[in-house]
């Protein structure tokens, strides 16, 4: 415990870099998943292809992906950008199938009614389809957020600053409190983000009662 109190500034710094590596991928995965899922849903074979590809991409362990990406996109192995790109890919692998399910969960006849009421395609998507897909989308984002925040720590073994450094440093120096602090903080960060997403969902979708979400 005293280790934690003596190193509050170090921990705060790592928490900041941690969030900088975790939040952009969550946003990127969400934003890109919407058009990709719409595209995939347009054709059955495309949807199967996208779902299968996502599953296989997700099966790739994070550390090898962190190692391979720099050679492909030209970042450095120790660059936070490298971690953020890899995590965006994982985020997409989780989020695109979720978004595809979300849009499929919207009743076709409701969309037809909206069209009959004079909604243009864009407005219909924004004001009818997206809100109705909202609860399932939210469940997907929650899974992406929690898993992304936890995965950032793996970058620590490559020397990329994040709460993962507490594990690397704590292990090297044999400080159990340091590792414990890292585990607790990472989990707390993930659970707080998850809680904020639930709150955001209630604000944006006051009509939907919270559900346990689709956790697979």
């Amino acid at each position: 415990m005293s280790w934690v109190l003596e190193n509050v500034d170090v921990i705060a710094g790592y928490t900041g870099s941690h969030l900088l590596q975790a939040l952009p991928p969550i946003l990127v995965a969400f934003a890109l998943s919407l058009p990709l899922a719409k595209l995939a849903n347009a054709r059955g074979w495309l949807r199967t292809g996208v779902t299968t590809t996502s599953g296989l991409l997700y099966a790739i362990p994070s550390l090898p992906l962190f190692v391979l990406l720099p050679g492909i996109v030209g970042t450095s192995v120790r660059s936070p950008l490298n971690i953020a790109i890899a995590l965006s890919l994982y985020g997409l692998a989780l989020m695109v199938p979720a978004a595809s399910d979300a849009f499929r969960s919207v009743d076709r006849t409701v969309l037809s009614s909206a069209t009959a009421q004079g909604y243009a395609a864009g407005a219909r998507f924004l004001h009818v389809e997206l809100p109705l897909a909202g609860p399932v989308l939210l469940a997907g984002v929650r899974v992406v957020a929690v898993s992304t925040i936890s995965l950032v720590t793996v970058g620590g073994v490559l020397g990329v600053p994040s709460l993962g450094m507490l594990f690397v440093d704590g292990f090297r120096r044999g400080i159990i409190a340091e590792i414990t602090a890292g585990v607790v903080l990472t989990a707390a960060l993930a659970l707080v983000t998850d809680g904020l997403l639930v709150l955001l969902g209630r604000l944006l979708m006051p009509w939907s009662r919270p559900t346990a979400g689709r956790r697979t």
Partner: protein
């Protein structure tokens, strides 16, 4: 040395020198596979019975869903290093981490498999005089088999990745190459190790994916993972 790290990595991979002995590719792959199978099996011994029971009786449903969800938030590297410090070097510490990380997927898979059985079907089985054990064994488990295998898929993905970190705390497996390369600034070696782990992960995932499709009861679409 060609200057292109990927070509250098391929050159490393095809060099017969690296395919024999205790630190050769076959030995390291077997170690990695061994850790994975052991981790998933031990976790399954705990999680599958509990998941089936919760799914069948409906008791403890809330806790199961919460545990499965919250476990995602646990950083794997943190568990591996923490257990290594607490239990010392050796296989016990990583094995414990594998089990902790594999249990949630297996639990969720077994639980949702049983729960996905149509209540009308289950009642029909009960009306025909089946005992609760028979309902579980002959109705709920076969119907939900793809979801159970889906749980194994999730757990395997998780453990293959974590088994790499086992090398970080002094064990073998394919992670060795990555950490060896990291320590000696040998990027091609890190790539070679990464390609091997990715290949192993994808092969395991494909095998389980095919199993998932094959175990789907006839006349029913395979459940999505």
């Amino acid at each position: 040395m060609t200057g292109n790290p990927f070509l250098d990595a391929l050159a490393w991979l095809v060099d017969p020198v690296h395919w024999s002995g205790p630190s050769g590719v076959p030995a390291r792959t077997l170690e990695h596979l061994g850790y994975t199978v052991l981790g998933v099996l031990v976790a399954a011994l705990i999680a599958i019975p509990v998941g089936l029971l919760v799914g069948h009786t409906g008791n403890g449903k809330g806790i199961t869903v919460t545990v499965a969800g919250a476990a995602r938030a646990l950083p794997t590297l943190g568990l591996v290093t923490l257990f290594a410090l607490l239990l010392g070097l050796g296989l016990t510490a990583p094995l414990l981490a594998f089990v902790v990380l594999a249990v949630p997927s297996l639990l969720a898979g077994a639980y949702s498999a049983v729960e996905s059985a149509d209540p009308a079907t289950v009642d029909a089985a009960r009306a025909q005089g089946m005992t609760e054990w028979q309902i579980l064994a002959k109705v709920e488990i076969p119907l939900g088999m793809p979801l159970i295998i889906g749980g194994f898929r999730g757990a395997t993905v998780q453990v293959v990745a974590t088994a790499m970190l086992a090398a970080y705390v002094g064990n073998g497996g394919l992670g060795r190459y990555i950490f060896l390369g990291l320590g000696s600034q040998d990027y091609p070696l890190m790539i070679a190790g990464s390609l091997l782990v990715i290949a192993l992960a994808l092969v395991l995932d494909l095998v389980l994916l095919v199993t998932q499709r094959l175990t789907a009861p006839r006349g029913r679409l395979p459940a999505e993972s």
